[in-house]
Amino acid sequence: MISMKSAFRKEVLRAVTGSFGRFLAIAAIVALGCGFYAGLRMTGPDMRYAGDQYLAGTHFYDLDVASTAGISDSMLDDIRDISGVEGVQATKSSDVMAQIGENQLAARVESMDFSEAENSEQDGVFSVSSDNNDYLNRPMLASGRWPTSDDECVISADRIMSTPVNLGDEVTLLYGDDNFDNTFQTKTLRVVGTIHSPEFMSSIGMGTTSLGDGTIEQIILVNPSVFSDSYPNTQAYVKVAGAQNSYSDSDAYDATIQPVQDALESKTDAWTDDLRQQFEDQVREQAQSQMEEQQQQALQQLTAQGLPLEQAQAALQTQMQTQQADVQAQIDAQVDSFNPDIYVLDRSHNYGVSSFKSDSERVDHIASIFPLVFFLVAALVSLTSMTRMVDSERPLIGTLKALGYTKRAITMKYVFYAALASCIGAAVGILTLTQFFPWTICRAYAIIYSVPQTPIPLPVDAGLAWLSAGLGIGITLLATWAAVRSTLRESPATLIVPKAPAPGKQIWLERFHKLWARMSFSWKVTWRNVFRYKRRMAMTVVGIAGCTALLLTGFGLHDAIWDIIDRQFGDILTYNVVVQTHDNLDDAALLGVRDQIQDTGDGTDIVAAYQRNMQASSPDHDAVSVVTYVPTENSDMSQAFSLRNHQTRQQISVDDNSVVLTEKAARSLGVSPGDTITIYDLNAIGDPVGDGMQLTVTDVAEYYVNNAVFVGEDAWRDATGDYAHTNTFFSKVTNDQEQRDTLTDDLHANTDVSTVSYIDETVDTYRTMLSSVNTIVVVLVVSAALLAFIVLYDITKINVEERRREIASLKVLGFVPREVDAYIFREIGILVLIGTILGLFLGIWLEGFVVTSAEVDYVMFSREIHALSYVWAILVTIGFAALVMFSMRGELKKVDMVESLKSVD
């Protein structure tokens, strides 16, 4: 062994250069298999890594103490005193409807100390550094500058839902909750800059609110003094010491956070009591001073009437006592109804952070199944290629064996060859694809999230890299060993004699005598050849099936996504504008809005409804958020929502007693018609409150975007005891842009109206958002192409190599090139067809799997693959095959007829 080392090395090297095509095929398939596996598996972690870097670098909070009654200074002191707390930032925030430039939307106004921003420095893509540990959730300036006065603000640069905002635009805070008038000192601001904020990293939704359609669409950061002095801090963001040293998904992180969270939670009761006490003191003080004032007045009155002071006081004494008791009762009642809620929330309550995490987990899910097909094909390619190599070197093996080389030594040559090919393949595949996949997919998600992209080189997870390399190389070596072993078992004597080509035999197809007899001669040949080499047949069929399946998945995914838009906004929603009003308007006000839609906008099919963001739950299933729609004023819901049963296509009408749940919600809740769901109102932070109300589902309707429940007027009254009151109008208005602008202006001028949104704008938003998925489609198609090329190249190459003699003989017999091509390629063509058909089935399954795992929470992807996608998947596969065969025609041409004369070697 040792003595043959240099000769051995030369021999292996010669094997590599001598059959570079085969070497390349093995390396390429291993590269594809390993790279696909490692690359996809690392994408999710890479996304989370980037998110983590971003959150750590911007000093994102670990815990958020939110209070409905404000955060007092003493609470802040308490928080600071908790051991493990590194920084605390108190913030005022309030949700409002705001007019920004042309748009009216729900926005969150948050206070921020801009001097901190001025004193901080952005370093790297992820990080903002500052000396102040209390400066948290550090935003990055995207354009413009930081505000310097109370009439300036910065807003998020990451909005895609609405038209772009320009620096210098005016922001008007229009209205908000009941306390709106006491919340702000300044209500008109100017945009001086745009920012990326880790607190609002998703541009699809920045959180939920009770205003507008329930989604916060913009954030406005202002000086604290924009808020009234009396408006308390609403949030205390807490940074836990040492937490950012560990990955925010890890147990270590949770372990660091937990003690602080426990400590905070243990204080909430005391804080609630304090707040109540403060409130009571405040109320009592107010009442006391009010009473004293009244008494003083009464006393003055009495003395003015001429009563001596002492008598007057005595006269008031009894009155005072009764009054005192009344006031006390009043105070008690007020204090009793004052129930401040204090929440201690971790990062998972942040909409952006949690949806980014679940998106990354969705990628993990896809990664778990996809690469299997590549490993399978890699094994088959290695097995057939190495078998061919060993077969072609039988005489050499026989000679070596006869010379006394051990089986191990001979095996080593092939194992070494395969190891070299697969190691190179694994290294190249892993190094490139673990960069390419995460980078491409992160880039696609960058449309939705403001998380900066990790600059290349991305970190490579050593464990995963080794696992995938181990799998790829292991499979190849195992296949090689299997191929060599069977040959080595033969005696040297039989080895030196060339191996007879696989003998012909009858195939099962011949048992169908009638069919077989009808077949033309050349087809018989083709069929026999198809079944002649089972292993090669398997490899081709599996490879091509994989290719078709990937293509069908890609095209199907494309269908699934664009169908959402076509069906939801084309078939199901038949209105083109939604006008929301304030709650509880009187009939005259509602009629006013209705008239505006009708007169100014030529609106037809006006549907009045009550709309509310709620949460639905059912036993044993996680709750989902739903939008509840109740038709009011005897409206016909079908004029705005054309609901139908997905399977039967039967129209569903919302009658007085109907409860129609949308499909995805029904699936998530595991309910069908006849089952009962409970729907809850939501509190300020989007958690369900109250006992909820029970509704019995009567129908389930096809629906793609958002979850909704349509409740008939009577059903709603039965559940709540009240008729629903109109707060929304759906209508079909004019398509004339000018007239629309007038309508929008008129409605905005109407103080009863809260939002006006046109469906076209929503459609555009979804188009932008979903276009990111196109990237994945492209990745799938390219991978499919590579797979097909490698497999077909290899199989054709082997076919040609092994049948040189047959090909030469055919040429001598006078076969024209076309006929020679057919002899070799028709058989591959049949295998391609079989593979394509199997691939369609595999693709249907794979597409279903990918669509389900890629689906976003509030969107249902269409499950149907278009007929055209099947056609494309088939055509493209066959196209790839034809291309490979076309390029291999040269190989056939090169086969020299003189070979037919040579002895069999």
Binding site: K524, A808, E819, M897, V904
Partner: protein
């Protein structure tokens, strides 16, 4: 004018810098219906003669006529048609398609030409009517060579070219094969050219062309060829 004629045919191979003159002014002629044997030692150029005559290689210079046609000036497509319709080939190692039955192997050739013999009939002629549905792997060497001959004659070619047809066979089976080839020329008037290094076949031939150093050094016409059944070697 003979049916087959070689006039000053040269063939030069370039192997790197080395120039190999495989044929160096080859001249001979074979009459229609003759059984001709081209004989000579290894490296004499007889395989090159076969290749060029069979239309699987082209000469560097010279004139080759088969029947009315010049094959030395044919392009690749014309050569393919020539092989397809005019030449029947019998190889030393049979070159049967392992995945086709005996019958199908014959059909493989007969289906592509204009005026073929029935495949089963061709196999009957070589005495294999009871092995029609056997695969080559199930046949002995002699039987395989007979299938190959059936395949060649099924095309009804003007010219039957045989490359060491008995080279891989034992004595008895070799003799049977030679009898078949002789019958083709004698009974059916087909021109048969056999390439061999084995002088023992010379007595059964009408014409013996001895080649050496790329030249025909001797051309003997045998007025009374012996029957192949009497052959001894």
């Amino acid at each position: 004018m003979p049916f087959v004629s070689f006039e000053d045919v040269t063939k030069i191979y370039h192997m790197g810098d080395i120039e190999v003159r495989a044929l160096d002014g080859m001249n001979f002629g074979i009459e229609k219906g003759e059984l001709a044997v081209v004989v000579g030692p290894s490296g004499a150029g007889k395989t090159t003669v076969l290749n060029i005559l069979g239309g699987i290689d082209t000469p560097t210079s010279g004139k080759i006529q088969v029947g009315d046609t010049r094959i030395d000036q044919m392009n690749e497509r014309q050569l393919t048609q020539y092989r397809r319709h005019n030449v029947g080939f019998v190889f030393q190692f049979y070159n049967l398609m392992p995945n086709l039955t005996a019958l199908e192997n014959v059909e493989l050739a007969s289906q592509i030409c204009d005026n073929p013999m029935d495949a089963a009939e061709a196999l009957d002629l070589v005495g294999l009517s009871d092995r029609l549905n056997n695969f080559p792997g199930q046949l002995s060497g002699g039987e395989q060579q007979r299938v190959a001959i059936a395949r060649a004659i099924a095309k009804n070619p003007d010219l039957l070219l045989c490359d060491e047809p008995t080279g891989a066979l034992d004595y008895e089976t070799g003799k049977t094969v030679m009898e078949l080839l002789q019958a083709e020329s004698m009974r059916r008037g087909r021109t048969v050219v056999i390439i061999t290094h084995n002088q023992a076949f010379c007595p059964v031939a009408n014409r013996v062309i001895s080649v050496h150093g790329g030249k025909a050094v001797k051309e003997d016409v045998n007025e009374n060829p012996k029957s192949a059944s009497t052959l001894v070697w």
